[in-house]
């Protein structure tokens, strides 16, 4: 298996996003969990159908990127399309924000319990 997108034809990436170079929304963090709200329909762009099938269970943006073998940038654009059409919902991380802001201690306690139970 080759690394995703490594030998990707740039023109193909451009075609996938239909020429757009930016997502309409900055809403998608790497770990935003995406959930399908609709089934794929015939005639839909194949990347959109694949995302809808993949996200029947919550799936992080970065997992979608790895699975589709497309750069995160391109995946964000595809996800924006689906979000704008109401075909997916996005569960954003509750800690995203300024880098200098520490997460609250209750959340960190939950993380510790989870790690100790591994």
């Amino acid at each position: 298996m080759t690394r995703p997108g490594r030998d990707e034809d740039p023109d193909r990436l451009y075609t996938v996003t239909r020429g757009r170079s930016r997502a309409s929304s900055d809403a998608f963090d790497l770990v935003t969990l995406v959930v399908s709200e609709s089934d794929a329909t015939p005639g839909m762009q194949s990347e959109h159908s694949r995302i809808l099938r993949m996200c029947q269970y919550p799936t992080a943006v970065v997992e979608v990127s790895a699975e589709l073998k497309l750069p995160v940038t391109v995946v964000r654009i595809l996800l924006s399309d689906l979000l704008d059409s109401g075909l997916i919902t996005a569960r954003h991380p509750q800690t995203a924000g300024s880098a200098a802001h520490l997460p609250d201690s209750n959340l960190l306690e939950q993380v510790l319990v989870g790690l100790r139970n591994l």
């Binding site: 451009y14 099938r53 750069p71 880098a99 520490l102």
Partner: protein, 203 residues
């Protein structure tokens, strides 16, 4: 198997339906220091690999038009996943620490809980840049010395070489070992918890 799951390879284990909070921890270090090994040791899933595109200047990385020209380059990174409870999922990213990869921090790893700087004591200088940038960003971190069986340095010697402040925890680890790697993550989160508790009580 019904057709709805045909897109899901056998190795892909879905999260539970109630998962709603993704968290990030980044493991940073020089080439070959064991970042992917550590991610693999603790991840619930086989580590995955993806990439992001940047311009040579490290700008406009969310601009696909950059891919068109020869001015762009791509950076690959690995990640793994740990389900902590029915709502919370921790993603672990292995990220290169070299200067030209640092845009990942600005553009992708904002909002990370904290970082593990994985060091090889035979090549401590590889970690200098990463530590500088973490301090600059105000991202809390710990240092984990991966055991490569090289000459033993005292903790003092390593702290001196890294110019590490006393309040940054430093531990030894074996990235190939799940219990050891798990202990590294627990040490980081305990450190974060101490910082967070201190900040909350100061308010």
């Amino acid at each position: 198997m019904d057709s709805a799951t045909s897109d899901r390879p056998a190795h892909r284990t879905p999260l539970g339906r109630s998962a709603d909070n993704g968290l990030k921890i980044v493991v940073v270090g020089g080439f070959g220091v064991g970042k992917t090994t550590m991610v693999r040791s603790v991840s619930d899933i086989r580590p995955l690999n993806t990439e992001e595109v940047m311009t040579r200047a490290g700008e406009q990385v969310d601009d696909v038009s950059a891919i068109q020209g020869k001015t762009s380059t791509t950076v690959a990174f690995d990640f793994g996943r740990i389900t902590l409870n029915e709502r919370t999922v921790l993603y672990l990213f292995g990220a290169p620490g070299q200067e030209r990869f640092w845009f990942l921090w600005d553009r992708l790893f904002t909002g990370t809980l904290g970082a593990v700087v994985l060091v090889d004591t035979r090549r401590l200088a590889d970690s200098w840049y990463a530590i500088d940038r973490l301090e600059h960003h105000g991202t809390p971190f710990i240092v984990a010395r991966n055991d490569f069986g090289g000459p033993q340095h005292s903790a003092e010697q390593v702290r001196d070489a890294l110019d590490l402040s006393e309040d940054v925890p430093m531990i030894d680890c074996d990235a190939r070992s799940r219990p050891s790697s798990k202990n590294v993550l627990i040490t980081l989160v305990e450190h974060l918890h101490a910082l967070s508790t201190a900040q909350e009580s100061a308010q």
